[in-house]
Symmetry: C2
Subunit: 148 residues, 2 copies
């Protein structure tokens, strides 16, 4: 994880700590999402919180790209699904400074095609660093308090 | 376009020249694919050849990512389609040295979902530089001689 990305996670970590939510960050062994058996896994979120049968993830993008949206579709498609993942809620944050408006349009298009509702839900934010506190609050509000 | 990517295009340029196929490369104004009106365009292939009502593109990936597949879906979806693009055939080349096997699985998954046949067709190659001549030949063989 690049330094810049780590900085962008800080507001999410801060609000998780305030809410006493246990979270996982980074690319360690404990943060793996399998696409297919026998293949190397991908990172299961830049930040991840498990709550009841829901998994809430944050992905930070400093460039463009929709791979971190598409990977959840591939992982959650019925034929591939890992039994222990029941529902994933993605907070997908793009740094507005980098532009890539067309990629955000591709994101919206792709999300409209993802036929894994209600097992997947995603929220796209194209923001500046100063706006992250709001996004982090919305992220935390989606996590049910009683199910921690 | 990174230098490394430019090197990977050379076998395709060579075979186009041998076959007298006119091609476009790079990010210039003449190589733009619109996702939505009023948004900046994305690059319409690292290399592109027009033949009759078909457009043949090569995309080179030195990292992972499926954005250069997804963008064609968004651009060719009926609601967005530009009238002058009738059919796109993508030769999508990943540098095998970088791994990303899971991304290739996501690619296959995503391609299986793309409901724009016959207006789009894609071929995935995960190869070493030494194998590019074969891929370039297959690329050129898909371009009908009579329609140039």
């Amino acid at each position: 994880m690049a330094n810049h990305e780590a900085n962008w996670l800080l507001p999410f970590q801060k609000i998780c700590e305030k809410r006493n939510l246990e979270y996982t960050i980074g690319q360690g062994n404990q943060n793996q999402l399998a696409i297919l058996p026998n293949l190397p896994s991908v990172q299961f979120g830049d930040l991840r919180v498990r709550s009841g049968n829901e998994t809430h993830v944050v992905e930070i993008e400093n460039g463009g790209g929709v791979t971190n949206l598409a990977k959840y579709w591939a992982a959650l498609a019925p034929i591939n699904v890992c039994e222990h993942i029941e529902r994933v809620v993605l907070t997908h944050v793009y740094n507005r400074a980098y532009g890539y408006q067309s990629h955000h349009a591709i994101w919206n298009f792709l999300y409209s095609k993802m036929d894994v509702w209600p097992r997947f839900e995603a929220h796209l934010y194209v923001v500046a660093y100063e706006e992250l506190d709001i996004v982090a609050r919305l992220f935390a509000e989606r996590i049910p308090i009683n199910q921690q």
